[in-house]
């Protein structure tokens, strides 16, 4: 394999005495989707801002390379290789969508003919042709995000940073965004994505790093991460208190939630385990009014990776 698209060693950043990033190592191979997962305030945006040359890392950081260029000595070459869609819409609301696109084309120094072609093509691809002549400030949240990404794509960046690209979008717009991101990678582009949603990282990313308190708490594929987390369970809900009591005594190892008359049985959600649970329920004569399977979500991952109790320690192999 050639150089990784992004390679950062010991990424550090603090504002005053508040440490935001405390030695983060990241390697993103070319042509893959990498997702940085974390709650608000974990340092995701700061990481994107540093890797995209917007803010400078602390001097104590190790070497950082983006697109094969050193961030500290050659930021302008890094900028030429990347495209950034920040968390807050980076469109000029006062001018139209089309003018925004032409502005980008001009800043990429495209020729007169190219700038019109690229603009028309991207507006079409992101379903913005109809709204092209309206001021961007009048666009809906989803349209603004699409315009934002379309602007990022002018100039064919090889590495794209997307900071929480679906936060605040409705489900349809979110799925559209996922489709768009998948298309990008199929063209060989590297995508660095931050998100608060495990589901999203799961959908898209080849590798996921969980950022907590400025450190990588865990790193691996979605499957690897989920295996670390004991949060998966089957939840049985009852409407009749008597039935609930019976089931609770029959299923000794289930944890009880007396208020909502629900029992939780640990499970990884696999078909095999589900079948054995069902068999067990049948043999115990338990009939729940509602059965739901919960897979680990970000909350679980977080409590597991940062709570510190009863968590299997992550083996070294999964870290790299």
């Amino acid at each position: 394999m050639t150089n990784p698209a992004i390679a950062a060693n010991g990424l550090r950043k603090s504002y005053g005495d508040k440490t935001v990033l405390d030695g983060v190592d990241l390697v993103v191979p070319e042509g893959t989707i990498f997702s940085l997962l974390g709650p608000n305030g974990a340092g995701k945006t700061t990481a994107v801002k540093i890797l995209s040359t917007l803010v400078s890392p602390d001097p104590a950081s190790g070497p950082i390379q983006v697109g094969g260029h050193d961030l500290a000595t050659d930021p302008q070459s890094v900028r030429a290789a990347i495209g950034v869609t920040g968390q807050f819409s980076a469109v000029d609301g006062l001018i139209t969508g089309e003018e925004n696109m032409l502005l980008m084309a001009d800043l990429h120094h495209l020729s007169k003919r190219e700038r019109l072609c690229v603009t028309a093509e991207l507006l079409e691809r992101f379903d913005l042709t109809e709204a092209a002549r309206k001021p961007a400030a009048t666009y809906s949240g989803g349209m603004k995000r699409r315009l934002d990404i379309a602007m990022t794509l002018v100039g064919d960046p090889r590495i794209i940073f997307l900071d929480e690209p679906t936060t605040g979008l409705d489900p349809r717009s979110r799925h559209n965004m996922w489709r768009i991101i998948r298309e990008l990678v199929s063209d060989g582009v590297t995508v660095f994505l931050t998100t608060q949603y495990l589901e999203e990282a799961d959908e898209l990313a080849d590798r996921i790093a969980v950022l907590h308190d400025g450190r990588i708490a865990a790193q691996g594929t979605a499957e690897e991460l989920k295996r670390l987390v004991p949060g998966g369970h089957v939840r049985l809900r009852f409407t009749d208190p008597a039935a609930y009591q019976n089931a609770a005594s029959a299923l000794g190892e289930a944890s009880r939630d007396d208020e909502s008359l629900a029992l939780q049985i640990p499970s990884d959600g696999s078909q095999r385990e589900l079948r054995s649970i069902l068999d067990w329920l049948d043999s115990a004569g338990v009939e729940a009014d509602e059965l739901t399977v919960h897979t680990p979500d970000l909350d679980d991952v977080f409590f597991a990776l940062t709570g510190g109790t009863g968590i299997p320690h992550q083996p070294e192999e999964a870290v790299r």
Binding site: S52, T53, L54, V55, S56, Q76, S77, R79, A80, I82, V84, G86, F88, S89, A90, V91, D92, G93, L94, I95, E99, L103, D106, L107, H108, H109, P135, M151, T152
Partner: protein, 263 residues
């Protein structure tokens, strides 16, 4: 592409963007034009006769006062226009698009240069408009030579450039549009404390140094001398010195602020 070509090309792009904003949303620019025009009409038609007598005219004749007040108001127009620049720079900096510009391989200064050039052009246009009103109500500059006209124009451009750089710095340090407008307020108030409306020797003695040693007074005296064809004395050099000093100061300040890591 050589660094200079890059700088010129990107600055031109940024200038087009700013002019597009100004053309699409002219209300800010027009509002700021209103202040000098209102003051001009107020001082000429309402206070004119008294002011005229006060500056030593031959009795109550407002036309003499028009000649006195117009140069000051033209420079005040520039002060007023660049308040708009501070506001739009500050607005711009809160927009995500500036973050995008910072992550692009463009000439870094072009964002600010676009604002500066746009603001100077707007100032010139505003001065022409206010000048048009002045001529319409009776201001005449017939005693000036062509050379003096050119010098007057040069002074206006230089003065606009200087104030713009300062206003850009004020816009960059302001967290929002309101703060920018407040921070830039001295640029509108200073002309009131200068020789724009009354001669300095008509002011109280303790106040005269304040009025005399500030940038507007020498610029106003120079412009007045050039437009009316009277002498400018040492005011010309003083005015040019002030302009160059403020421009360099504003340039260094603005670029330093812009190159700081964004919050």
């Amino acid at each position: 592409m050589s660094p200079l070509t890059l700088a010129v090309r990107d600055s031109a792009t940024m200038l087009r963007r700013n002019l597009l904003h100004a053309r699409r949303y002219p209300s800010l620019t027009l509002n700021l034009l209103l202040t000098p025009i209102m003051l001009l009409l107020l001082f000429v038609y309402v206070f004119g006769d008294t002011m005229s007598a006060g500056i030593g005219g031959d009795g109550p004749d407002r036309s003499e006062y028009i000649a006195y007040i117009v140069p000051g108001l033209l420079l005040m127009t520039i002060g007023s226009t660049v308040v708009g620049t501070a506001v739009s720079v500050s607005n711009d900096m809160t927009e995500g698009i500036i973050a995008r510009f910072r992550t692009m391989a463009i000439h870094r200064g072009s964002v600010i240069l676009g604002h500066v050039i746009g603001s100077v052009l707007q100032s010139v246009i505003s001065v022409v408009l206010v000048g048009g009103v002045a001529v319409a109500i009776g201001f005449r500059s017939t005693d000036a030579t062509v050379l003096e006209w050119l010098a007057a124009f040069g002074l206006l451009v230089l003065f606009a450039t200087a104030l713009t750089w300062i206003a850009v710095g004020m816009g960059l340090i302001s967290p929002n549009a309101e703060a920018a407008s407040n921070n830039a307020m001295p640029l509108i108030l200073l002309p009131l404390l200068s020789s724009a409306f009354v001669p300095i020797d008509a002011m109280p003695g303790w106040f005269q140094p304040v009025a005399e040693y500030q940038p507007f007074t020498p610029a106003i005296e120079t412009l007045r001398g050039l437009l009316l064809g009277t002498g400018i004395g040492h005011n010309g050099w003083l005015a040019v010195g002030w302009c160059l000093g403020l421009a360099v100061l504003g340039y260094l300040w603005s670029t330093a602020k812009f190159n700081d890591d964004p919050k």
